[in-house]
Symmetry: C2
Subunit: 575 residues, 2 copies
Amino acid sequence: MRLIGPNSLGMVNPRIHFYGSFATGLELGFPEPGHVGIVSQSGAYGAHLMTAAVASGIGLSMMVMTGNEADLTLGDVVNMLVDDPNTKVIALYSEGIRQSATLVSALERAREHKKPVVIMKVGQSALGQAAALSHTASVAGNDRVFDAVMAELGVIRVQTTEQMLDIARLATRGIFPENNTLGVFTVSGGAGVIISDAAATHGLAMPAMPQPAQDRLRELLPFCTPTNPVDTTAQVLNDMSLLTTFTESLVVDGGCQSILGFVTYTATAATSGERVREALKTVAQSHPDRLYVLNAMGDAEKLKRYEENGFTIFEDPSRAVAAISAMGRYGQAFAEKPKRVAPTIPPIELPANTPSEAQVKALLSQAGIAVVPETVCTNVDAAAAAAAALNEPVVMKIVSPDILHKTEIGGVLLNVDGEKAVREGFERLIERAKEHAPQAKIDGVLVAKQITGGVQCLLGVQQDPVFGPMAVFGLGGIFVEVLDDVVLHRCPFGEDVAMQMIQGIRAAPLLFGTRGQPKADVHALATMLANLSAFAVAAGPRLQSIDLNPVFAMPEGQGAFAADAVITLTSENSE
Amino acid sequence: MRLIGPNSLGMVNPRIHFYGSFATGLELGFPEPGHVGIVSQSGAYGAHLMTAAVASGIGLSMMVMTGNEADLTLGDVVNMLVDDPNTKVIALYSEGIRQSATLVSALERAREHKKPVVIMKVGQSALGQAAALSHTASVAGNDRVFDAVMAELGVIRVQTTEQMLDIARLATRGIFPENNTLGVFTVSGGAGVIISDAAATHGLAMPAMPQPAQDRLRELLPFCTPTNPVDTTAQVLNDMSLLTTFTESLVVDGGCQSILGFVTYTATAATSGERVREALKTVAQSHPDRLYVLNAMGDAEKLKRYEENGFTIFEDPSRAVAAISAMGRYGQAFAEKPKRVAPTIPPIELPANTPSEAQVKALLSQAGIAVVPETVCTNVDAAAAAAAALNEPVVMKIVSPDILHKTEIGGVLLNVDGEKAVREGFERLIERAKEHAPQAKIDGVLVAKQITGGVQCLLGVQQDPVFGPMAVFGLGGIFVEVLDDVVLHRCPFGEDVAMQMIQGIRAAPLLFGTRGQPKADVHALATMLANLSAFAVAAGPRLQSIDLNPVFAMPEGQGAFAADAVITLTSENSE
């Protein structure tokens, strides 16, 4: 026997008339049987959600409030709903994930079964103190991790209850166009502009009608605007056959996957309502593979008949566009090809204590991550020889497992040129290290090639307490620290995902060639990022974070090199 | 006699039973008299708006659809509504502004009369081709100009009809807290988190309850969470006096200006509805100066009684928070002190043709805008002398009214050091200019101090066809061109507004000291920006654009200097 709760408001299954809940909201009306399964970790908010769903005409297959999740968690119930033939759409309300592996695999199954999932996850909590040691941690906040994981799984995360119910309601139509396009007919030019603006905001394509179709429509109604939106003007009220013709043309000639009609009060007004419905009904019946949405208002019973004819009703045009756009996102997620698999790398064994930079780079090299050519030198002659071999100028850095932030103690020298400078630099670094950290074990001085040119990037990994290692990509310096311009993804992943991440930052044009700059070697960057993701998994749970900062992305064909690398381990306390 | 229209759906004044409109929407019900005045440039969408307003229980003082505005424009009707004692709130739908001066002065009058204005403005059009000549133009798109002007005038611009009606409905309460704070009581912890998240999104403060008040509440109900949100748990259903006490404590102890209660279906359920209403009513009656909002649902007649008791009802918590936040923005706009006046500068006379860089800088100097120390040299000896006087290294640039983009023809040399290099540079620049632009009139070579350090900024002005000269501020290079990180404001303005603009970019931390960098001389920048705004107005309508790019903002106390300056004039064709 399995347990829901404790501290739960129970569950409801309208199909079998099971109302195992003491939510007062049921006083306002019992849910009708339907195809949306709702799971909520909150009792009171879950009951609010259920009542709001009833009020907006959504039928439920199941409503479960998981409470404190002593046994069954959110993921378990999602798994159940994936298997439930009456559930076509899954709507989740979450305040925090327990057993993320169960949830992730349940969400993966939902995608395989083409059951759309919409989630509202509230609350933002800071990462633990231990995590604040690295740059990566400061940008990989919890909430952003959640966003990244849901996007990866094809789950749509919403901010408000209304968005959730809008999407759930429309999704019950079961139409999820892989390449969504929107065709709009409207009796108001103004509404057409509102809808076009909203479609642009949501990245929903509104292709123009083919010219022959435009010509034909203009012949029928000379003062119409037949582009898309197709503005029929109020003339359709005088000749309803126009409404049928224009709408059908969006489907047949325009090939639009989703149709949105702005008919507002004419849908229900006594003088026009029935005629509008008849004119539209024939189109939906002839082409049942498309998604039909109407902006309409008025008497609820009259609107219900439109719903029965295949039209989902939204009063507000902007909300309609948002929901239609979501159906396309599901379509893409369901059609997504399996991602290229993560690179295979040899087993990684982390040392017992925080590794030095040289150790880190040796470890990373095993995973095929290129570092700037360099040598650790234990005496001044070796340093001079190494510098000469690298063709000065060079960068010199103190090497010590006990000094993580070298810059702060003056432990990094840039642009060291000439033997004399190299020899002086060596002595100075040893001195500074002894002065600022007398207890530190000093392994020597690293002599590395001074890289000029290239775009500085940050590649990192942060162990998330819920979802495990998360890779982070951004440009170096202010882009991460001031502009917060980063993307995240669960580890591991292949080069295709890595490339999507690289393309996903706002500052991506700087890598792909802009302002007369050459294109950077983004393929080398993608390889490095994918290898890093495999490394993070291979390193196991003792890995707390990795910071490759900066990584120099050189011009195309010239590679990418990590110039600095820090790995932190989980402390025993935080285990 | 004045004219509304043509091509208008007419107007409606419910108070005098005047329904001068043939909108079919009136079949669904006539508007009740009320205090919201709606003006729409679209007929069909205006009628939709009116019908949606009726459906959401908003009473109207006036509904005017201005159509093609052959005579009366949006601004004229706003002016009328400002004077109409029955209109407390003004809601506008616009597709394009005619006679912006009338609209701006009407909106200024609305603010003086403390009548909140909410506007939905749709459609985005590109600026004319002529404007695309300057960097500034590419970032000062029409829509962004409109945003900036509305923000300046204290008007809230919304994206959707729902946002407009939510704000209009709540604004009829006439309560606009200057320093808005939100106190929340809830019967659901989950809802408390949703509301807190939404408040954070909207920048609405939710101060914690004072400790003594928390202690007292916890004594009354040991398992409550009395911070803010105050989570009373469902226990209030057993003892309604708790609801009164907790709510009143948010008002009296917490001093919250706005109160939001999440009571959902308990507001109307047969077993709890009346008791909840009585418990809350007493608080609103005792403290009528606060804004009261409830998240509730259920029977419309029952909810109406809450409205009569002073509580505005929203089903969705996120929408409620958005509307409450808007009331605070009105409060701030109404309380705003008159801005410091724009600097006074001597009259500016633009030359007949596009001025050269040297001419531009001379003009700007008249307005007190500091440029990098420099001299125009007509022969090589003068150049050598100038470089010596400026303490080399110097920057050298070709000076010609016919060459606007000097970099593209290699007409700029950086870091020229030593007399020999200066002499060679002079000859090379003259040569290149002759080679690339044989027809160009060459005025000489500019020799300027090479500035090192400082933060590079862009200060610009762009003539907007609707609102006149708009000032633009951002950081140089990629911040403007890739990250689109700029702020705009109508010209002219004082240093206080200029400082707000500087603080308004996302990358502002780079100017105010971050990552070990010194704070830049933002006061000098603000002075320059204010002077530039006065210059733009003084220069008159022939000014098309100004680009000061880069401007070097030096460390605090060391000033700001324009290193390059371009002015373009409106061509005769575009006049």
